[in-house]
């Protein structure tokens, strides 16, 4: 009963946040891991046009979790990057979906599947729950960088990131928080 109430509180605190039009993120705290689910919307036409023109399209998801501190800079707890890339094969009219984080690639005949692959990450593990301190407040943020064309970019582009969309969400970890089922 207590766990259910705590879960309700946690879910209420970290309910999905719509940062921009149709863009959403959601954190899921389990007993061991903090997961993140996010979705980028509003880019379908642009992505479809680029993919049909044969351009390689990548989405870079930068997920960052900071511990909020008063009167001082926030402490970075975790920062992970998920890169999704779709390489069109115009002759076969198929899409090669590559997850650069895992190196797994697969073919798809469906353009919708390719778009979904690019614009959504689901249940991505962010940080070990043991690294979070009970009773502290945290801020989770997702920045999405959309890259059209070959991914071979110059080193200085990392200095000036132009994120397509950003989302942020704050949550407070209760002092006596118990493990939460996903």
């Amino acid at each position: 009963m207590i766990c259910a109430a705590l879960l309700a509180v946690l879910l209420l605190q970290i309910s999905p946040v719509a940062a921009e039009e149709g863009t959403q993120m959601q954190l899921q705290l389990t007993q061991d891991v903090v997961y993140c689910t996010a979705k980028l919307s509003g880019q379908r036409e642009r992505l479809v046009a680029a993919l049909r023109d044969g351009m390689v399209v990548s989405t870079v998801w930068r997920i960052q979790l900071d511990r909020l501190r008063h009167y001082w800079l926030n402490e970075s707890v975790a920062e992970i990057t998920v890169v999704r890339r779709v390489e069109p094969d115009l002759l076969a009219q198929r899409w090669r979906l590559v997850d650069e984080a895992t190196g797994i690639a697969r073919q798809s005949d469906s353009l919708d599947a390719a778009l979904h692959f690019l614009t959504a990450i689901e249940h991505v593990a962010v940080v070990d729950r043991a690294l979070l301190v009970a009773g502290e407040s945290y801020r989770a943020g997702v920045a999405i960088d959309l890259r059209l064309g070959d991914a071979g970019e110059a080193w200085w582009t990392a200095l000036w990131r132009t994120d397509e969309a950003t989302m942020a969400q704050r949550f407070h970890l209760p002092a006596n928080s118990a493990p939460v089922e996903p």
């Binding site: 023109d53 044969g54 351009m55 002759l91 076969a92 073919q107 200085w156 132009t162």
Partner: protein, 725 residues
């Protein structure tokens, strides 16, 4: 007009940096990158333009706020730099705009719709080839879904040799490169391969093959393997009730066609990617060209600055040296470094300054000499002015034309000159009225042949006083000075003349007293003796009495006369003592008690005292009252009054009567000795009275000549010593 155009040109030059700064600001606004545009070159361009705008704005503001004269040559340098940069900036901007237009046009040509269509068609052609291969495989595979041999081989097992031979015939018939047969458990039952032995190791079915078996549909996929592209077709073998196996065939696509198709795809992708980044490419072109232009402008600015500095440095040095020369520094010299026109100019400037230095030295020496002379002249003038100011004699300098050049204060005080006696006034025109004799004297001096003239004459002043003047005139004329005129020295010798006159009369009185007084007493005694001894012996005693009495009376009169003379001649010094005014008045009242017409007012302050010789003052008052009684004797109601009053530091004694008064012509001589209007008067009474008053430091004045006749004796309340008088 020329000044106005030059001024407007200067003002335009002063605001030119601000205009250029505004131009750069507009450029920054136009070139500002849009959101998401990550172009470092754009930001570099903006930074350079902002730097240039800031420098130009700062310089422009400094020019506008500049009120004092700037450093020599700096303005010329600024003009040169501004003009050179402006001259460079205008064509650079024109080229920039033209290049931008050309890039736009070029982009339009590159991304022409015909190229677009051509690439689309080429890609469609390549895609059509792939689709056709896949369709052919699928259509052919459809014929083998329920092939009895294959179904039988999968379900019941057939000899491998005959089955391979059957598959080889199929491969030969359909033009496939590889045919494999799998049962429902994905175990390869048989397989053949064109131009090679069948693979001993069975192929693994992938997800698409399993999907084909699961869905019971003919499917295909494209695989790349070692540079080859293979179309793989999957055909499920359908038994009586369900799928029991899978036929997998491969068709190797022709290498030449594949290369062309992939080249078409690559070109298409590249073209589309370029088209996608068309705007970015155009902006990159623009930014690169702008960057080059800005670098050229910057370099041009530096070069222009160096060139202008090198060119204007000699001009600035010349201007600075000229300014120092203007301020009086003639020790300045400019370096004659170059041999061009500027060097020649510097040489000429140095020569000019050298000559100026020599001239200035000569002028300074002359100025020193002149200054010394001027100082001497000023000293003389100062001495002369002091002398004239402190001189008691009146000095009047009159030009040859009759105009007064100079007159000192003494002449004003002596003659009581009116306001129109000012320098530059004509002496003949202003010498009118009682001053007529002054003008006449000048006129006589001017017209006489001699250089000097001296005259004595009397001048009546406004208050009735007469001045006895001694005027001495000298003609001033020297060949070495540029002035000719006359110097008039006027002395007031009234007191001197009066003293001389008094001394003369005193001498006369002394001699008369000496010569006449001695025989009078025997005459008087003889007459009295005659009267006593021979009165009874004469026939007519009455006549005898009359005659002897007349002798005695006249002798007594002569004795009184001589006594007055003696008094005037030997007037004793007053014996000053303080006495109450009321006492003197009461004494007068007692003395004239028998004269009812005499009214003496004794009602004065008892503490009012004056310092005087009471006998002499008493004598004066008696004299005045006697005269008043005598003058009013013929009146019906004679009245004589004596009263005293206090005026400042003096006591005034007023004697008034309502007699016939004093004639106008007698007023001026009334106080002169031996002037009398009475038949038996000696004419010494008022003269002695005035002398007593003056010996007391006071005065005796006739305030009113008639109705009433009013004399006023003024005696100071404090004692005045002889020296002070």
């Amino acid at each position: 007009m020329r000044d106005m155009s030059m001024r407007s040109g200067v003002d335009l030059m002063r605001v030119m940096p601000l205009l250029m700064a505004a131009l750069f600001v507009v450029g920054i606004l136009l070139m500002w990158p849009s959101q998401g545009d990550v172009n470092w070159l754009a930001w570099i361009n903006i930074a350079v333009m902002a730097l240039l705008a800031l420098l130009l704005f700062r310089y422009g503001v400094r020019l506008l706020r500049e009120r004092e004269e700037p450093a020599p040559g700096s303005r010329l340098r600024a003009k040169l730099v501004i003009m050179m940069v402006a001259m460079l900036l205008i064509p650079a901007m024109t080229i920039q705009m033209a290049a931008s237009q050309m890039v736009d046009k070029g982009m339009d040509v590159w991304f022409d719709v015909r190229v677009d269509t051509l690439l689309d068609r080429a890609l469609n052609l390549a895609q059509g080839f792939y689709e056709r291969v896949e369709k052919d495989i699928k259509r052919n595979l459809l014929d083998y879904i329920s092939d009895a041999v294959l179904v039988s081989a999968v379900s019941s097992g057939q000899g491998y040799a005959s089955l391979s031979e059957y598959l080889a015939r199929m491969m030969q018939t359909e033009g496939w490169q590889k045919v494999e047969l799998f049962d429902i458990n994905e175990r390869q039952i048989a397989g053949v391969q064109r131009d090679a032995l069948s693979s001993l190791q069975a192929s693994q079915l992938d997800a698409r093959a399993r999907l084909s078996m699961r869905l019971g549909r003919v499917m295909s996929e494209l695989l790349s393997n070692q540079g080859r592209e293979v179309v793989v077709g999957y055909a499920p073998l359908v038994g009586p009730t369900s799928v029991i196996g899978l036929l997998r065939v491969e068709v190797v696509l022709p290498e030449g066609v594949i290369q062309n198709a992939r080249a078409v795809e690559a070109d298409y992708k590249r073209y589309r990617q370029l088209e996608h980044h068309r705007q970015a490419i155009r902006q990159s072109f623009t930014h690169v060209m702008l960057f080059v232009t800005l670098m050229v402008v910057l370099v041009a600015c530096l070069v222009a600055l160096l060139f202008a500095r090198r060119l204007t440095a000699p001009v600035g040095e010349l201007a600075a040296a000229l300014r120092r020369v203007t301020e009086g520094d003639l020790e300045v010299a400019v370096p004659e470094s170059s041999r061009d026109e500027l060097g020649s100019l510097a040489h000429s400037f140095n020569t000019m300054v050298g000559r100026l230095r020599q001239n200035a030295s000569a002028i300074q020496k002359a100025q020193q000499a002149l200054g010394q002379a001027l100082d001497s002249s000023r000293q003389r003038q100062h001495v002369l002015e002091s002398l004239l100011a402190n001189l008691h004699s009146g000095v009047l300098l009159v030009g040859n034309d009759g105009r007064v050049r100079l007159l000192n204060q003494a002449v004003r005080d002596i003659l009581h000159l009116p306001e129109d006696w000012q320098p530059s006034a004509n002496i003949l025109q202003i010498s009118h009225g009682n001053l007529h004799d002054i003008g006449a004297f000048y006129d006589e001096l001017h017209h006489q042949k001699g250089d000097e003239l001296q005259r004595e004459f009397e001048v009546s002043l406004a208050e009735g006083r007469r001045l006895h003047l001694l005027v001495h005139g000298v003609r001033l004329s020297r060949d070495d000075i540029d002035f000719s005129g006359y110097l008039l020295v006027i002395d007031d010798i009234s007191e001197l003349a009066e003293a001389q006159r008094n001394r003369a009369w005193a001498e006369v009185a002394r001699r008369l007293a000496h010569e006449i007084k001695n025989p009078l007493t025997p005459i008087k005694l003889s007459a009295e003796r005659l009267q006593r001894r021979f009165r009874k012996q004469v026939d007519d005693a009455q006549v005898f009495d009359v005659c002897t009495k007349a002798i005695i009376d006249q002798v007594e009169r002569l004795q009184r006369l001589i006594a007055d003379f003696s008094t005037l001649a030997r007037m004793p010094q007053p014996k000053m003592q303080e006495i109450a005014v009321r006492t003197l008045l009461q004494e007068m009242q007692e003395l004239f008690y028998g004269y009812p017409q005499v009214e003496i007012v004794t009602d004065v302050d008892a503490d009012l005292r004056c310092c005087c010789d009471p006998d002499q003052i008493r004598q004066v008052l008696i004299n005045l009252l006697d005269n008043a009684v005598a003058a009013s004797a013929d009146c019906d109601q004679p009245h004589v009054a004596l009263h005293a009053s206090v005026q400042a530091d003096a006591v005034q004694w007023h004697v008034e009567d309502n007699g016939s008064g004093v004639d106008a012509e007698a007023v001026e001589q009334l106080f002169e000795a031996y002037y009398s209007t009475k038949v038996d008067g000696s004419g010494l009474g008022l003269a002695i009275a005035r002398r007593i008053a003056e010996d007391h430091g006071g005065s005796l004045q006739l305030l009113s000549a008639r109705q009433p006749t009013h004399f006023c004796l003024t005696i100071p309340t404090a004692h005045i010593s002889e020296e002070e008088r």
